[in-house]
Structures are given as C-alpha cells and as structure tokens.
C-alpha cells in the first residue's frame, strides 16, 4: 500500500499532523530517509514531509542562537563569526550538495548508520550545551540535547538553541574515503567563566559528552588520556573501535590546545 504523505505548510500544522508521532516517519531533507526507502529498508505507512513547514532559519538574538529544525547544514557555515566550531563542524559534513539538503533536525534524529556513524552535529551541539524544543506525546518540551538524544526519534524537533560560548574549537579525524562521513570528531566550548565542555561524534550510539576529560581540561595531555573512558567505541566500515580509541586523545588535545590559543 502506498504511504500516506502529508506536507504541512506551517509549523502549527506540522505539530498537529505529527500528533504523538505514532507510526509517522518524518522527512526533513531526505538525505537519510530516502535511500532507506529506495533500498527497501524502510516501508513507511505515514510520512510527514517538512519541506514546506516553515521550520527553517537561523536566529541570533543577543547571545542566543536558534536553529530551526529544517535549517540546512550549509546555513551553519554563516555562523563562523558567532561560533567557529559549529561552522567548522558543518564544513566537515559530507559535501556541498548534501549540506544544502540535510537538516539540523534530521542530523539529531538519525539512528545508527549502516557500517558508518551518523549524527555529525550531535557532538558539537552537546558541547554547546544546546536545548532542543520538540513536539509529540505530552505536548511541547524543551530539554537539554543530552536528554533528547537519549530518547530521540520519538519526537518532532522544532528548533535547537544555545548560548554563544566565549570560545569554541573543533577537530576531526581526517580520513580519506569515497563517502565523506564524520569518522570521529571532537568539539570543545568554553564559557566566559572558564567552564569547558567537550563532546564527541563517531562513537557507538549518539554523540556523547566527555566528562572525565572536561574535569581535566586545564591539562590537555591528561584530558586526552581520560577521554576514552567516557565512551564506548564501535567497529564499522570506516575504522575499528581500537583505532578510534587511539585517535580520541589526540583530538581532545587538539581541541583543548585550540581553546587555549583562542583565549
């Protein structure tokens, strides 16, 4: 049976049609969902297509930056002066065309990939201590991104917001491969009071904070050595768990060094 396809033309209509989300597949840019349909891995019954829903846009209000759910990744490149790590993270993601089509909300909601990690932005938005506003069962909610990622895919993302950090830094494992996946990447953000947050993309499951490393942020060497203890690594087609474990300390050291240099 062909799926029921709904194309809301406003945020309110999108929220109403999503309801509690039961049995509904949401398509933001389509970069992840459409191949799943093409390859027969996903046979959706009810689809919410957000292309006309008006959920896109970047808003800068004082120190607060808000990204609408269907904001394309390439719009983040324009935030270079606001939060350089987010722009660097976006630039590292896939290629020109995919960045123009993939969305912020979609990147938060993707599940595990097929032999490759997904969710390139998650580590960066964790380090920025972002909040996610979403709709679904029990109405609208705003929660820390860490809580959202723990039960992601159940809810309709409306927007993501965070306060501009005093400094931010990004470092990714450069890995030549036909498909430009983020194999492993670390983002650091430092507030004016010196609070430092570190998070990683490319480990098993969604992006994760590196709290042991954060506690040692003033000593990049020690922080790097502690970081692998905060996460679980996975083997996939791009790299082994062992290799990721070797590289993570290096990326943590680089990010903390960049943060020191930008202070």
């Amino acid at each position: 049976m062909p799926p029921e396809v709904l194309v809301p033309s406003s945020p309110d209509e999108a929220v109403a049609l999503f309801g509690d989300g039961t049995g509904t597949t949401v398509i933001g840019g389509g970069t992840v969902v459409l191949p799943n349909i093409t390859y027969g891995r996903l046979k959706p019954g009810r689809v919410l297509l957000l292309s006309q829903a008006g959920l896109d846009g970047v808003t800068v209000d004082g120190d607060t930056i808000m990204l609408g759910a269907t904001t394309p990744i390439d719009a983040l490149l324009g935030l270079e002066d606001q939060v350089s790590a987010l722009a660097a993270c976006a630039r590292n993601l896939a290629d020109y065309e995919v960045r123009g089509q993939g969305t912020v909300g979609g990147n938060l909601c993707v599940g595990a990939g097929y032999e490759a990690p997904r969710g390139d932005l998650q580590g960066c938005l964790l380090a920025l201590d972002a909040r996610v506003r979403s709709a679904g069962a029990d109405g609208e909610q705003s929660e820390p991104i860490e809580d959202f990622l723990a039960h992601r895919r159940d809810r309709l993302v409306l927007d993501v917001s965070f306060r501009r950090p005093a400094a931010s830094a990004f470092a990714a494992l450069e890995y030549p491969h036909t498909h430009e996946y983020t194999v492993l990447a670390v983002t650091g953000a430092r507030d004016a009071d010196g609070t430092t947050r570190l998070a990683v993309t490319g480990v098993a499951g969604p992006g994760a904070r590196l709290r042991s490393a954060e506690a040692l942020a003033s000593d990049p060497e020690a922080a790097g050595a502690a970081a692998p203890g905060d996460v679980t690594f996975a083997d996939d087609a791009l790299a082994s768990a062992w290799y990721r474990g070797q590289v993570l300390p290096v990326l943590v050291r680089r990010v903390l060094t960049q943060l020191e240099e930008s202070a």
Binding site: V7, L34, P35, S51, A94, Y96
Partner: protein
Amino acid sequence: MNLTVNGVDTAIDSGPLTSLLDVLREELGITSPKAGCEQGGCGACTVIVDGEPRRSCLTPVASIDGAEVTTVEGLGSPEHMAPVQQAFTHHYAAQCGFCTSGMMMAAQAYIDRGGTDDHTAIQEALGGHVCRCTGYVKILDAVAAAARGDSFDLSVTAAGAAMTNLGGVA
C-alpha cells in the same frame, strides 16, 4: 505535482516519495542523471533545482513540487553545447562518462554562483563527486576554463574531432 523541467512545465504522476532521479529517468525519460550509489555519495545523479545543485536520488519529488529542474539536456545540445560542455569536451574531462553529467551540473551551479578558476574552490564545490576513472585533473582544468569563460574551437581540437567522428553523440 508539477515541475518545470529544462524549461518545460511538466505534470508529474509518480508517487510523492518517488526520488527525483526516478521521476526524471523512469517517468520523463531524461537519462543524463545517473543512478550510481543511490544514497547520495557519488554525485552522478546531481541536477540543478531552483538554482542549487541537488542529489536527485535524495530528493522526494513532493518536497520540490513546483520547482525548476535543469539537467544536462537543458544545458545545451550536441550542435550548440553550453560553455561548460565545450570545456569538458576540449579538456578531455570525460572518460567513461558516468560521472560527467553530475560533474557538469555541479560545475554549472558553481559558475552560476560566481565561482572562479581557483582549483581549491572547485575541489570544494565538486567534493561530493566521484570519478572512478580518476580523471580529476582534466575535470578541474575544464571547470576552471569554463569559470574563466575560455572559448574553444572544438572543430580543431582533438576532442572536437572525436566528437565529430561520433556524430555528436556524447
């Protein structure tokens, strides 16, 4: 649903989640966009949608209802090739040709948005396009030439002679 495809207003009968690639190839018989990986990684299906290069394999057709779509068929004809096509021909930028459509559409969009002949910028713009013949040097030369606005007399170049011998079949 409706699309303007290469300047022609076209009613679309395919289902709403059909990829733009399948709409173009299967419903409309426009075969320059190639079904390579069909998961967004190879670039061979790239077309221009409302001025921006897009992976047609990743685009549910309902998400671009009403849009303007341009494929290689809309760039030029064998008799009157667009500058980017002339540049690819002159510089031998096509070998097996499978990636060429996507490369040229990305190149056209790059030039349309003011791209220069800077190789680093071209590499960034075409970074999502894979050539399995590894003919990247010639492709970069061709895009740079087209971005500069070089003009070619294809009747006296080797590549032009080959085109003539093939009866203009590209």
